[in-house]
Amino acid sequence: MSEILVVEIWRGAEDGHFQSFDVPRLENQTVLDVVTYVQRKLDPGLSYRFSCRVGMCGSCAMTVNGTPRWTCRTHVSRVAEDGQLQIAPLRNLPVIKDLTVDMRNFFDKLAKAGGAFQSTKARTDNFAQIPPADPRRKQADAGIECIGCAVCYAACDVVTWKPTYLGPAALNRAWTLVNDARDGMGDKRLSLVAGDDGCIACHSQQGCQEHCPKNLSPTAAIAGLKRSVAVAALKGKL
């Protein structure tokens, strides 16, 4: 392990440049530790986001040596090449400054895909009873651990080529609700994800599940939506 890590960090907005910093190498050092060191010790003007530091909040995702990652749980030892790191903002989202991106598109698309739960009951009603082994519940369970970090969105080439595409996270969210017996939106949600910007735009490159830090499979969710949309279209429900 070398003593010094050479770190290139993106500075500026879209038309910025990489700036090089020397950061002391420590054991058990995460990429977020490196960025924090740069801001606290070398350049207080560096902008980046983080919150929980333990892989729950989904705010610290960046492009590390070319691939999107959650930086708080990415150890330097796993990604540094010859003692070097290149840290850039996430792809597919407008850069505000340095490592911070404007996530509005990403979150707006969650809403556009019908990502809000629509209750069919009032608070005075009894709990819905759903066996854990219920096949639909299992499909929903497979996708609900999404932390909204936008790593999948940054990894998706379809989003790059077609900026209006809803993206893996929004479609994954929609699929969990399609399988939620308590939700009342039904076929309306399918029609929200059936358009040109919805699930059928996916080319199944599977970059989303390749890079998802939570090991979720948005591709599986999108494939499920494609099947449901196809069946609904055949039945004339869309």
Partner: protein, 117 residues
Amino acid sequence: MAVGMKTRHRNHSTWWAFALHRISGVVLALYLPVHFQVLALAMDGEAVLDGALKWSDQPLVKLAEAGLIFLLAAHLTGGIRLLALEFLPWRNWQKSLVAASGGLSLAAGLLFLVNAF
């Protein structure tokens, strides 16, 4: 260090399978008119068609044909893989399917090649 960083997120088997599917589709679409053109030579008489077929016996043309067989097999198996992905219940072994379709395609190309000479 900075070289290749922009495309590095693509470096996984399912992305390469997508790229191969696209490229094979385009190349096969471009080849199809040539194929029909050769078949159409039969309209100009036996000798003309035989001449074209004799030309295609050259080693380099045979090699190119093996490449075409590989691309055809890759497009076919890749297409079946995608249909299975989209219309059958999800399986977590998608990369094994990529490997299987790639292996079958290579085998088809090699089988053609060993029989060509």
